[in-house]
Symmetry: D2
C-alpha cells in the first residue's frame, strides 16, 4: 500500500541531548506554553515545570493563526527567551517552524524542530527539514490519513533525516464537543508502520483541560512514547489556547498520576 | 446545552445478575462471537471463554447487514443457543434487539438487551426499551455526536429505564486504515455527562485484530467500565467480522495483560 | 462492489397518483411544513402552495427529535389533517414513518411513505416497507455511504417494492456553517447505480433559508428528479426547523426561478 | 463570527489580462493538464483546447505528491513550456506555487498564481502572495471550514492583494465513492461572505471523469464564476490524476452543454 524506502517499520530511537525517545525508553514529558508571550512568562513556566519534572520545554514563537489580526507570536525574540529558559532548567527546547525563511534561526536555537499540523503537507518544507541534523516532531495534519502521515515522514527521511518523532494531535471530525477527535489507534499503527517514536498531544487533541489527565493515561497505555502538554502559569490570560492549557499545579497532578503507572 | 431530566451526571451503577457495572466496580469483560452461527460454535466459544474468564457472553442473532443477501443471523433459535451457552458457563448474556417485533422474545431470553449503532436514532425503539425492566447496552451511533448519544440515553431513561450501559464503538471519519475511529475521549465525557457506566468495543472500534490489545488497555486507562470483544473459535471461517475477531487464545493474552493493570 | 439483484441501474419511473417521477419526466415539487402543527396551519400552507404550484404535499406527524422533551408531532391526528389538506388541493401527500407500529395507518392515509435519515439503517423497517404497495421516499442516512444507501434501497426492492424515490439531504461533515453538507454528486451517481429517481432536500441539506434557491437550481442542473422544500406560513413560529423553512412567498420565488430553466 | 477588515462582502471583480472574473461577467473556463509532462504534451493540449474554447490554460509544474518517490513535476522548465503554450493560443496561464523559493519565477512567468489545497493554511506563503501584483487562485483546504477559508483569503488581502479567485475543490468526508465531496453550497456562501469570485474544480472535487459534466452544470447553476477542469490528450498515460482527466473531445462536450445554459 505505501511506497517506503527508509521508514520500513524497523524501530528507530531518536536522541535529543541526553534523552532517548522511542523503543523501550520511558515516555518523555514535553510541556510549556502554547505561545511564548514574554521573557517572564516562559521563565516562570519553565521554573515551575522544573519543580515537577519535565524532559523538553515547548513554546511557540511563530504562531499559525486562523486570523491575520490575532497574536502571531514573538518571533526570534521569543525563541531567545525560550532558549534561555531551557538552558536555565537544563532541558532541550522545541518550537514550531512555519517556513524556510526561519529555518536557520530555528535550527540554531532550537534543539528539536516542530512541524505543525498545518504544514504536514508542506512538502517543500519537509524536504528542507530532511536536510538538517536535528530531531523533528512531525504533527499529524488535522485531516491527514494514516497513509499521508507515514508518507510525510518518509519525505523527511528520504531527504536524509530519520530523527523523527511523530505526534498524534487529534483529527477533524463531525464531533463538536471536543476540539478534535484524538485518534489513539494511530499510536500503535504508526509505531508499527514506521518504527518511529509516537507521542500524543492531549491538549490540542481534546481542547478541554479536564480531559488531559484521562487521555494522557490512555495514550501511554496504548504505547505512546511521550506526551506534549500545554502548561500556562495563568491560562485565563493566555494569548492563545487558554481553554486547553493547564496550570503547573494541574500539570503536577498529571505527572504524578502518570508516574504511578 | 442538553435538556436532561433524568441523567444529570449523578453516578449510576447498573446491575446484571450478580454483576455491578460502573462506579468503582472492576471493569466487566463481555466477549463472544459477532454472530451466533450454530449451537456448537457458541457453546465451544463459551466454554473457551469460561476457561480464561468472562463476565457476560455476547452473540448476535439478528444481524443488521448492509446487504439483504448476506447472513442475517439465526433469529430466535440462535437466541436459545446463546441462552443455553450462558447458563452452561454461568454468566448473563447480551444480544442485539433490532425491532419492536422481537422485543418480548429478547427480553424473555436475554439478560441484557443491546441497541446497536444503527438503531441509536430509532426513537420508537428507545421508548419501548425505556419500558422494560432489563439492563440495556446503548451503542453510539456511527456518526452520532456526544450530544445525540446523551439524548438517546435520556430517551430510554425518560421512559423509565435507567439501567443503561453506554458503549463507545468508534465513529465514522475520513480515515480508512481503521474501520472506525475509536473516540476514547468519549469515555470520560459520557461518564461525566450522564453518570452512566461506559464500556468500549475495540473490535468494531478499530476493525483490526492486532489493535484490540493496545486499545483495550487505553480504554481502561481513561476510565472505561468494561470491554466488549469479539471472540471466534475460528475467525477465518466467521460468517461476519472475522477480520476483527480474535481467537480464545488471543483473548487470553488480552485478559492477562489487562488484569496486570 | 455492490451485490444487487433488483436495482441494477435500469431506469425506473415511479408513479404516485397521476404523477410520474424519474426518467425524462419534469421534476416534481414536494413542499410543506417540517411538522404538521395544527389543522389550520397545514390547510393554510397547502392552499398557499396550491396558488404557486406544488406536486406533492409533505408534512411530518411523527417527528424524530434529538430530545424526548421537544415536540414529537401530532401523530395520527396530524396525518388526518395532512390528508384533508392534500385532498383539498388535489395532490398526493407524503409523511415519514418511524416504526412498524404505525405502518398500517400511514399506508392507509399517506400516498407516499417516507423513510427518514435516522431510519435508513433500520433494516427491519425497510423489509416491512418492501411489502407494501405504495411509493417510498428513502432519505440518505446522515452519514451513509453511497454503497450503504444503494443497499438500503435494495433491501426494499428485494422484499418486493421497487417504487423508490431516493432523497439526498446532506451528509454530516466537519463543516459547521451549514447544517449538513449537501452532496450533489450523489444525484448522478445514485441515478446511474440504481436507475431510481433521485430528489434533493435543500432545506435539511443546508439548514439556511437563503441557500434553498441556489442549491435547488444546482440540484436540477445535475439531474435531480425533484425537490423537497420546507415551507411554513410563519417560519419564526415553527415548532421545528424554522431556520431552514421558507414562506410561501419565498417558495414562489424559487418556483418561478426554477421554471425558467 | 469572522474578523475581517478587507473582504467584507462587497463584490470584487478580478482582472487577468483582458478577462474579468466575477460579478456579472460570464463564467471563465480554465482547462489544461494536471501536470505539464513535456513541451509536446502541453502544446498539443493547448491547441486542442483553443479549438473548443478556453479562457485560461492551467498546468502544474511543481506537484505536491503524497509520496516523495512519484513524479514531482518538471519545475521551471515546465513553466516555460506552459508559458509558451499560453502565448501560442493567446490566453493567460495559471500554475501552482508551492513555496516562497519559487515565488519570483512563478510571478515572472505565470499570469495567475495558484495556492493549492495543501497550502491553504501556509500562512507564511499567503502573506508573501499578499505582496504580489498578480491574481491568485486560492483553493480550499481539503478539510478547511468555510471560516478558515474566508480567513485565508483575508490573509492575502490584508497583506495587500485583493485579486483573489476562490476555488471549491471538494472536502474530505467519510464517503469513499468520490475522491472528495464537492461542497457546492460553498459557492453562494463564499460569494456572499467575501464578495470574491468563486470557481469550482469538478475534477478534484469528484475524482470521476463522468461526473465532470453534471457537476459543472450544477456549479454554474448555483452561481460559480468559472470552472477549472483537468484535460489530458491521453488520460490513460497521464503521470498524475488520469482517472479524473477528460480528453479534449470530452471537454468539447462539456463546453457545448454549458454554453447552452
Amino acid at each position: 500500500m505505501m511506497d517506503r524506502k527508509v521508514l520500513t517499520g524497523q524501530q528507530i530511537v531518536v536522541t535529543a541531548g541526553k534523552l532517548n525517545i522511542g523503543g523501550d525508553n520511558p515516555p518523555v514529558m514535553i510541556a510549556g506554553p502554547c505561545a511564548v508571550e514574554s521573557r517572564e512568562q516562559v521563565m516562570e513556566t519553565a521554573l515551575a515545570l522544573k519543580e515537577v519534572g519535565v524532559d523538553i520545554l515547548r513554546g511557540g514563537v511563530f504562531k499559525p493563526r486562523t486570523s491575520p489580526y490575532t497574536f502571531q507570536g514573538l518571533g526570534l525574540k521569543g525563541l531567545q527567551y525560550l532558549k534561555e529558559a531551557g538552558e536555565r532548567i537544563g532541558v532541550p527546547i522545541v518550537t514550531e517552524l512555519m517556513d524556510e525563511k526561519n529555518l536557520d534561526a530555528v535550527v540554531e536555537y532550537s534543539d528539536i524542530v516542530q512541524i505543525g499540523s498545518r504544514n504536514m503537507y508542506n512538502y517543500s518544507l519537509l524536504k528542507e527539514i530532511g536536510g538538517i541534523n536535528k530531531p523533528v516532531i512531525l504533527k499529524r495534519g488535522m485531516s491527514a490519513s494514516i497513509k499521508e502521515w507515514v508518507m510525510a515522514a518518509e519525505y523527511i527521511a528520504a531527504y536524509g533525516n530519520k530523527n523523527i518523532i511523530l505526534c498524534e494531535r487529534g483529527i477533524r471530525t463531525f464531533e463538536v464537543y471536543t476540539r478534535n477527535t484524538l485518534d489513539l489507534a494511530a499510536v500503535p499503527i504508526m509505531k508499527c508502520e514506521t518504527g518511529l517514536p509516537v507521542i500524543v498531544d492531549p491538549s490540542h487533541g481534546t481542547g478541554h483541560r479536564q480531559l488531559i489527565l484521562p487521555m494522557s493515561k490512555a495514550a501511554l497505555a496504548c504505547g505512546a512514547n511521550g506526551l506534549m502538554i500545554e502548561v500556562h502559569i495563568d491560562p485565563k490570560k493566555a494569548l492563545s489556547d487558554g481553554q486547553q492549557s493547564i496550570t503547573p499545579e494541574e500539570y503536577q497532578k498529571v505527572y504524578l498520576e502518570i508516574n504511578k503507572l
